[in-house]
Structure formats: C-alpha cells, structure tokens
Amino acid sequence: MSSMTQNRLFREYKTLSENPPDGITAGPVSEDDMFHWEALIQGPEGTPYEGGVFAAELKFPKDYPLSPPTMKFVGGGVWHPNVYPNGTVCISILHPPGDDPNHYEHASERWSPIQSVEKILISVMSMLAEPNDESPANVEAAKMWRERRAEYEKKVREEVRKGLGL
C-alpha cells in the first residue's frame, strides 16, 4: 500500500510538472518525503484575488488516496469565507464522504480516491472566485462578503498587495 501511495503521488507530481494547469504549481517539498507538498495558486482573473500568488501546503495521509490530504495556506492565510483564519482550506473535495458534520455538502462533491491534487487545486481556484457562504470557515469574511461586498473586495486586494510585498 505504501508503495502504491508513493507511486501514485509520484505520478501525480510528474503529471503536474509536465502538464500543469494554468496558474497552478505543486510538488513535494523534498523528494525524500512524498507526503508533504507545497503548492502555488494564482488568484483567478476578474476576482479581487487577481494578481496574488498564494502558497499552500498539502499533507497526505499514509492511506492516500483512500483518505484526502489536508490543505493550508501558509504565510498569513487568505481572507475568504471558506478559509479558516489559520489558513486551513475548508472545501467539500477535501472532506471524506463518510463525514459531513455540516450536512450541506453533496456526497458527489466530496473526496473520492479518483480525485487528485490537480482537481483539489482547481477546486480551490474556483473557490477563490466563488465563495460558498453556506457553511463558512471564516464567519467574519462570510458576513463581509454577503453584506459589504465592496469592503470585502477592498480588504482582499489589500491583503494581496501585502502578500506580494508592495
């Protein structure tokens, strides 16, 4: 199983590096440890996150792909309804089908062994573009997004600029 897990992660790494989707880079921090990855995601165009580059770390369980990895934005987190203040990403594709504490996710959106790092990162990109405020991880951000959109966008743009060191 472990060799299967490592092979699969290695293959995903190879596919991602040879044929990366737009705006996404990902790979293991060191090739000695395939269970710890780093990813960079570009803020999607036409959103307040545009122009930003967001770094995240992915941690894979030993029984991957039976269980999903966890994903966390590093370096200050991201102001977003579906990202916890500590940076942990909360989207359905990262949740195993067995556990749905919030009862709002369709089973079809959740983790399954046929999902992949690439699909996770693409989902996170679209999550940045279209927050889901039904069950927010960051309640403040969700409230701001719902009620004071202009302020929300301004705050996000400021964070992006700060993140780029401008």
Binding site: M1, F10, E18, E31, M34, K59, I114
Partner: protein, 428 residues
C-alpha cells in the same frame, strides 16, 4: 523504493507526435493507483479498477470511487478484455514510445535531411541495446520490458503479463539507460543496483512462474515455496462482521490464517481487512502468488500503516505498550539511571550554589549556565522511566525549583524514546 525511479505515465506521449496516445494510456490506467490495471475487475456500476484498489476502497467506504453507488466486493467480476488490452499496450509501449521520440528528434533538429537524422538516434539505441544484452542474462527480455513499462513493484503483480512477454521480440527492450536487477529483473539506475541487491527478494519474477533452468541457477528460486501457488487454486476469504466476534476469537482467527495477531482489536480488524483484500485480489489473478509473497506484502502494510507505523494520529504509538517490561527495563539500565541521576544532582547542586546567593544574578547567569544544565537534565529525564525519575529528582526543594526553571526554557523533555515520544505536531 527507489525515489529516483522514473515512473512511466501518460504524459510521456505529450511531447511526441503521438500526443493522442496520452488519453488512450490514461484510460488503461486505474483511477485509484494511476498505474496500469492490475487484475482489472468491473463493479456492478460498470467501472473498472485494479482488484486490490477497488477492494480497499469498498472495505473503507463501501462505494464505487467513480460514481459513489454502493457496491460489494462479492459482486466484482474479472474484466479479461481490459486485462488483455493492458497487456498488449504495455508490450507495445516501449517500442512505440521510442519510435515516437525518435521521430520528434529527427523532425525538430533538421527538417531537410530527415532520412539521415531519424536514422541516427535509432542506430545508437540499437547499439545500447546490444551492449545491454551482451552483459546481462539473456533469459528474460520480456520481464524486463514488463517491469519497465509497469513501473515499480506493485502490490500485486499479475504473472499473466509475463506469459505474453515471453513471445515478444528483442525490439521491445526499452532504451531507458536503466539496467535490470540480476535477480528480479526490475529495471533501475545503474548506481541503484547494489543498494537494491541488499534488499532484493527476487519476487518480481521468481514467485509467479517457474524459471528456465539456466536462469534458476542464478536466482533465488530454490528458496521459494511454490506449493501454495501450484497445488490448488486459493479460495476466497469471506467478509467478517467484526462486531459479532469477541476479541479472543478474532485473535485466534488471525492466528489460524497465519498472519500476525498482536495488537489491539482495532488494529487486528484493519490487518484482517488488508489481508482479506490482498488474498482475494490474488484470487483474481491468472497466476496467483504464493502465500509467502502475500505475507511480505502484509509486512509492508504493517510497517507503513499497521501496528509498526508511527503516524501522528495513531494513538497506539503514543501510549506505552501494555506488554512493555518496565521491571526488566529498569533492571538492565539500573546503573545508567543511577549514574545519570547522580550527575544531574551534582549539576543542579552546582547551579543552585552559583545562582542562589542573590536573586538577580540568576537571570544574568542563565544564558551561560543553562545550556550545560539543560543538556544534562534532558538526558537524565529521557533515559529514566517516568516512575523512577520523579521520586529520584524531586526530594529536595531547591533542586526541584532549579530543575523546573531550566526545563521550562528548554524544549519539552522527551520521555522514554521510542515508547512515548511523539515528535509530530498534534494539531493536524
């Protein structure tokens, strides 16, 4: 596992003129392990996976990974057509890929004199192949090709593919700069061979079918038990409803199956499930592996996910084992403990003497004195079982005070190494 091993995958086609083969290859790969289908089986919802992959999924979720409809492992059926497709494709793959890559080189370097240009890389490859053939055993080109195209050791290796491999010609030997292990024929980088030989079990080719006599003398075949595989077709293991079994019954069951039966109940259940999956997936193979091979695969599981693994969430590794012999431990390290305790006393007494006289110098002295003290204290604590450390070090108050303060600024003390020490960040 060779981390440097280059795993073939569908992206290999992308920079060749045969880009369109990438989706073909993807569709011959299992969506769970991303490797070529290995003993493919079809679910009742008509999705195909490796036998072992889908069995693992079903035993953890009970659902098809693709469409999430419920399914049972009893309903899985072998998918021979897919198996034949995979065999045919993996046989053709190396030569087609070589050809495609050669065509790319010839086309891009100089479009004008294609004839000469495409010719050159091919002849070079031939030479390499010839060299390789001259220095290596001649018996098993097929296996070499197979292992190159299939990637590193899979949990389950269908020997079926080897049957086809035997009839293929020498054109298919991959020109990948890799050399095969003389025992198991797995291809790897030249420098990795010696390291690999230390641990090679020869199981890739030796276990599943008898080798030609000439090769047998080189290989580990003689010490391989064949009885299990050749005498009778293995029978499938039934799914157990664990909640109906008492722990002792379960323990006995594992023993009867010939697999390890130590550890807490939850671990035994997981081990049994894994064994059942390995076993039943092996039953789907055209040429089943011997039990000894499956037991080795279970050992790998034990090391990485079972009782011998140390995952941060695994509570069994953070608690002292029940059968830990604390009396024996303290007896065999008695003198060490006493000496370390004496050392620690001496050191902390010295610190007390140097720091107690006035209150303010304590802070000033700390930077110089504490590193030494910290180091010695930490060693002491880490070597002594908690039960004997506490009473031995706490009797006189001044020692206790200094100890506490020095420990506070050092890293949290490690308790008995290997038994309770858990270095992982708990908030994962």
């Amino acid at each position: 596992m060779e981390p440097t091993f280059d795993l073939p995958d569908s992206t290999d086609w992308l920079d060749t003129p045969l880009k369109l083969l990438a989706p073909l290859e993807s569709s011959l790969r299992c969506q769970v392990c991303k490797d070529f289908f290995d003993n493919p089986v079809i679910t009742s919802c008509s999705h195909t996976f490796c036998s072992l992959c889908i069995r693992r999924c079903l035993s953890s979720e009970g659902k098809c990974p693709t469409c999430r409809s419920s399914d049972q492992e009893l309903k899985l059926r072998r998918n021979w057509a897919v198996q034949e497709l995979v065999e045919a494709f993996t046989n053709a793959r190396p030569s087609v890929l070589d050809l495609a890559k050669g065509a790319t080189k010839g086309g891009s370097v100089a479009a004008g004199i294609e004839g000469a240009d495409t010719e050159e890389p091919v002849t070079k490859k031939r030479k390499l192949e010839d060299e390789a053939n001259g220095t290596e055993t001649k018996s098993d080109e097929g296996v070499r090709t197979r292992s190159q195209s299939r990637g590193i050791s899979r949990p389950v290796q269908p020997a079926a593919i080897e049957i086809i491999d035997d009839i293929e010609d020498e054109e298919n030997i991959p020109d990948d700069g890799l050399v095969p292990c003389p025992i198991c024929q797995r291809r790897m980088k030249n420098e990795a061979v010696f390291r690999h030989l230390d641990s090679c079990t020869g199981n890739q080719s030796g276990s599943t079918e008898p080798k030609p006599a000439a090769f047998g003398s080189l290989s580990t075949v003689p010490r391989r038990p064949f009885q299990d595989a050749t005498q009778k077709p293995p029978e499938r293991l039934p799914v157990i409803n664990y909640s109906l079994l008492k722990e002792t019954v379960l323990r006995k069951k594992l023993k009867d199956l010939g697999i390890p039966n130590w550890g807490p109940r939850a671990l035994m259940q997981r081990r049994h499930t894994e064994w059942m999956n390995l076993w039943n997936a092996n039953c789907d193979s055209k040429a089943p592996k011997p039990k000894s091979q499956l037991l080795r695969e279970l050992e790998v599981w034990e090391r990485t996910q079972g009782g011998s693994s140390s995952t941060p969430t695994d509570t069994t590794s953070t608690v002292m084992r029940k059968d830990f012999d604390s009396a024996g431990w303290s007896a065999s390290y008695d003198t060490d403990f006493k000496q370390l305790i004496a050392n620690a006393r001496k050191k902390s007494d010295a610190v007390v003497r140097s720091t107690i006289p006035s209150a303010s110098p304590v802070a000033a002295n700390e930077p110089q004195s504490s590193p030494v003290v910290e180091a010695s204290e930490e060693v002491t604590i880490s070597e002594v079982p908690a039960s004997s450390a506490a009473p031995a070090l706490s009797p006189n108050p001044p020692n206790g005070v200094v100890l506490a303060s020095t420990l506070m600024e050092s890293a949290p003390p490690k308790w008995i190494p290997g038994v309770q020490h858990n270095p992982e960040d708990p908030d994962l």
